[in-house]
Structure formats: structure tokens, C-alpha cells
């Protein structure tokens, strides 16, 4: 069977605008959650904290003409793609090639542009900027990456709310493994910080007033984040023949749907996706060393995810290191799985489990080892990275060290 490895990584998040800063934060347990300042808000906003990207200056990254075509969610994806392509070092080989795919997930798409358009149309009865459609379309990041790097294979966006990244990465993985492509640029991106969209999150009553405390007692909800994670995936021999470094292997991918409640996750659906990922990887539950949990910090998710981990891993669940790095970089929605894959690969390569920050102590529903507050050294050979979206859409990646 064809094997698929990661040869390039790029990450924009509240922990920094490049991967090195992200990894430094994971290593030290330094979080990116802080007070949310929303200047010029037209009304009240009950969302005191968020995990925003700082130090990202579009004027320094794109010329004016290009910037006009890009909503922030596409800007994040492009910057992460540049970093991933630089690490992989194969841009010149992919240019003009049809054997490379581009698949980028997004949960909410060009929200800043939607907000601007709505203000023009409904607020002022004005005209809409001609770049609105190119900016707002959910496939914009895939288009922009394909165009910037001259990649002419299959390219499209995918969307499944907070599982969008994992679906995109998993599809790219399967396309390479099944012979449809030799390489794929995959990942996810989101930027949800427009007033209208934040009001919608406020209305759903799932965001925390204090901070993100996954699996902890007194957890009060999720903290919205933003950013992008983009990866270069390659067929193993394709990477080796050109002298590319195989950083980690995507070993398996599992998907499922709860077909149930819109926002209340089902243990069976979560467990089914994890089992499918392990089966796809040909791995036994006992081989799992680390789980980068979905771990949103909502009272419901974390209890259900804990039950699903018990169901899939059995007694081994107590021996596994688990953490939710959302406690550090927030919930980046459609970018979450990709940012968390970057954290998972960091854990595999460095032998360091990033912590679950802001943890206050155990909870009746959450009785496993969530790596509270401090990073921990541990050899990790096989890891799972979970994404469980609203709407019951589940996608789990299995990642292992390259032997």
C-alpha cells in the first residue's frame, strides 16, 4: 500500500504567525487567549475573551492588488501554505503539475467580507465591492494556493464546521494513498471575528466568559480562535526520491456522522470515527500513545469525548496521554484540526505532550489523564487527532512516527 507522509508544515494561530512560535508556546504552555477588544462595535458584545492572531500584517505579506482579493481567512491559509511549501522544498517540482491536489477546509468562510457586504447593503443601501464574491467563496483558499504555486491538479474546498480541516487532510491523504495524486497541499483556515458572526456565537451560549478549560471542573465553554494550518503531504517514495524529509506519517483517517442532535455530540459517533481511524491505520487501541482531543471546553463535549475514549481504548484509555491544545490556541473552527495536527506532529517529533492549560481539577465526567497545565515528556509513536463538529460530523486522523 502507498504510504503518505507530511513533508511541510505551516501554522498561523494565536500562538504566533509561524510554526516555530507555535511550537515554542506548546513547549512552554504559554497560551494565546486574552481579552477580546472589538473597537467600533455597533452594539454590545458579550464575549470577553478570544484567541486572536496578532502580528499578522497583510500589507507586508501581499501587494495591494492581491490583498483586495483576499478575505482574512484566505490570507491566513496562504501564509501557512508558504511556510509549509518552504519547509517541504518542492515548490518548483509541483509548478504546472497535475499530480498534486489542493484541499483546504473552512467552517465559516469569508466572514469579514460578508460583514462588510451586509453593512453596505442593509446599513447604507450602498453598492457591494466587486471583489466580494471572490473573497467570500469557501473555495477561495484552495484557489489562491493553487494559483500562487501553479499547482494544476484537483483543487477544492471542503466544509464540515469544526471538522473541516480533518476532512480536508483526510481526503488528501486518501487521494495520495489511492493513487489519485502524489502530493497534496491540505489543511484548514478560518477567521470568524466579524461582529455579526460573533453575535451569532453569543446567541448560541457556548462560549466561555473566563477562559478555555477543557476536561476541567468548572469549564464554562469554548473560546473562539482563528488561524490556519497547511501541510504538504507526499507519497513516501515520492518524498524519498527527491530527498524530502518525512516528518510524520498520516497512518489512518476515520469519519462518521452522529445523525442525531445538532449541537449535542453522540458518544457512538465520536467512537465510531476513532475506531475507523485506527482500523484504517491497521493499529490496535493499545498502540495509541497520545490523543489530541477535540476538547472544546464546553460542559457537554468533554464529557462525551471522555466516554468515547473509554469506549474505544478500553482500559488503555488510562495509560494514554490526552490533551486539548484549544486551551492554548482557542477553537479555530475550520482551522482547528489543522492547527491541532501541527501540535500532534510536534508531540510525535519532540516527545513532548503539550498540556491542557487552565485545568483546575478533575470532574465527575472527565476522569482521564489530560496532561494538566504542564507539558510532559513522553515517547509517542502513534497519536490520534480528533475533530467532532456541530451537526455531528466527526473526522479523526491517526498519525505515527516514520519508521
Amino acid at each position: 500500500m502507498r504510504r503518505v507522509v507530511v513533508t511541510g508544515r505551516g501554522c498561523v494561530s494565536a500562538l504566533g504567525v509561524e510554526r516555530r512560535a507555535f511550537e515554542q508556546a506548546l513547549r512552554s504552555g504559554r497560551g494565546g487567549i486574552g481579552p477580546l477588544h472589538y473597537p467600533n462595535a455597533p452594539g454590545p458584545l458579550n464575549m470577553p475573551v478570544a484567541a486572536r492572531v496578532t502580528g499578522f500584517v497583510p500589507e507586508q505579506l501581499f501587494d495591494a492588488k492581491r490583498a483586495a482579493q483576499l478575505d482574512p481567512f484566505a490570507q491566513f491559509a496562504l501564509v501557512a501554505a508558504r511556510e509549509a511549501m518552504a519547509e517541504a522544498g518542492l515548490a518548483s517540482r509541483l509548478r504546472g503539475g497535475g499530480r498534486c491536489a489542493v484541499i483546504v477546509g473552512t467552517g465559516v468562510g469569508g466572514q469579514a467580507t460578508v460583514d462588510e457586504m451586509s453593512q453596505r447593503v442593509y446599513g447604507h443601501g450602498g453598492r457591494v465591492h466587486p471583489m466580494t464574491i471572490p473573497r467570500v467563496m469557501a473555495s477561495s483558499p484552495a484557489s489562491q494556493i493553487s494559483t500562487e504555486f501553479g499547482i494544476q491538479g484537483p483543487a477544492f474546498g471542503v466544509t464540515s464546521a469544526c471538522s473541516s480541516s480533518n476532512h480536508a487532510i483526510g481526503l488528501g491523504f486518501r487521494m495520495i494513498r489511492d493513487g489519485y495524486a502524489d502530493a497534496a497541499i491540505v489543511g484548514g483556515t478560518d477567521c470568524c471575528f466579524s461582529y455579526g458572526h460573533l453575535k451569532a456565537w453569543e446567541a448560541l451560549r457556548v462560549t466561555a466568559p473566563d477562559t478555555c478549560r477543557p476536561f476541567s471542573r468548572d469549564r464554562r465553554g469554548l473560546v473562539l480562535g482563528e488561524g490556519a494550518g497547511i501541510f504538504v503531504l507526499e507519497e513516501l517514495d515520492h518524498a524519498r526520491e527527491r530527498g524530502g524529509e518525512a516528518l510524520a506519517e498520516i497512518a489512518g483517517f476515520g469519519m462518521s456522522a452522529d445523525a442525531g442532535d445538532l449541537v449535542h455530540p453522540a458518544v457512538a459517533g465520536m467512537a465510531s470515527a476513532m475506531r475507523a481511524a485506527l482500523q484504517d491505520a491497521g493499529a490496535a487501541p493499545e498502540e495509541v500513545d497520545y490523543v489530541n482531543a477535540h476538547g472544546t471546553g464546553t460542559p457537554t463535549n468533554d464529557g462525551m469525548e471522555t466516554r468515547a475514549l473509554h469506549a474505544v481504548l478500553g482500559p488503555h484509555a488510562r495509560a494514554v496521554a490526552i490533551s486539548s491544545t484549544k486551551s492554548l490556541h482557542g477553537h479555530a473552527l475550520g482551522a482547528a484540526g489543522a492547527i491541532e495536527l501541527a501540535a500532534t506532529i510536534f508531540a510525535l517529533r519532540e516527545g513532548i505532550v503539550p498540556p491542557t492549560a487552565n485545568y483546575l481539577g478533575p470532574d465527575d465526567e472527565c476522569d482521564l489523564d489530560y496532561t494538566p497545565n504542564e507539558p510532559r515528556e513522553r515517547r509517542i509513536r502513534l497519536a490520534l487527532s480528533n475533530s467532532f463538529a456541530f451537526g455531528g460530523l466527526n473526522a479523526v486522523l491517526a498519525v505515527r512516527q516514520v519508521d
Binding site: 501587494d63 495591494a64 492588488k65 483586495a68 453598492r127 465591492h129 466587486p130 471583489m131 471572490p134
Partner: protein, 86 residues
């Protein structure tokens, strides 16, 4: 011809420069949009800027007549003249 022979012409040229992200100094009337690397998408942006600048509506169904900067200036001047006459 200087870049802004008249105020109207100067305003049109500046709107083209804004919409297409080109240096206004390059916008000589005989310059073709193709040579200036102004794409069809850029033309849409240019028309948006011109409409904003003059508060007019520019019909767009016959853009194939817009091959040069001079064509754009003439077309907009024509619309402005028709508005004054109307």
C-alpha cells in the same frame, strides 16, 4: 499629454489607478489595458471606482470596446456629457 489634462480626466485616471492597482504615470491614453496587465476582473474594479467617483452607473454589457486607457476616458466622458444634456 500630461496625466491630468482636465480635472475630469485626472479623476478618471486616478480611479483607474485605484481599481487596477497601477501607477497613474503609466496611464497614457494610447496605452492598452492588455499592455498594462489590466485584466477583465481589474476592469470590473475600475468601473466600480469610477461609479463611486462620479456617482454614475456605467453599463457593462459592451466592455469589449475598452481596449485602451483613452477608450475608458472617452466612454466615461460620454456618460457624463449625456447626464449633463439629460
Amino acid at each position: 499629454m500630461p496625466a491630468a489634462e482636465t480635472d475630469v480626466e485626472g479623476r478618471i485616471l486616478r480611479a483607474i489607478a485605484r481599481g487596477a492597482h497601477v501607477d497613474p504615470a503609466r496611464l497614457r491614453p494610447e496605452a492598452t489595458l492588455e499592455a498594462l496587465a489590466i485584466s477583465s476582473l481589474d476592469v470590473v474594479n475600475v468601473i466600480f471606482e469610477i461609479e463611486d467617483e462620479f456617482g454614475i452607473e456605467v453599463p457593462t454589457e459592451r466592455d469589449d470596446e475598452l481596449k485602451t486607457v483613452g477608450h475608458v476616458i472617452a466612454k466615461i466622458k460620454g456618460i457624463l456629457a449625456a447626464r449633463r444634456a439629460g
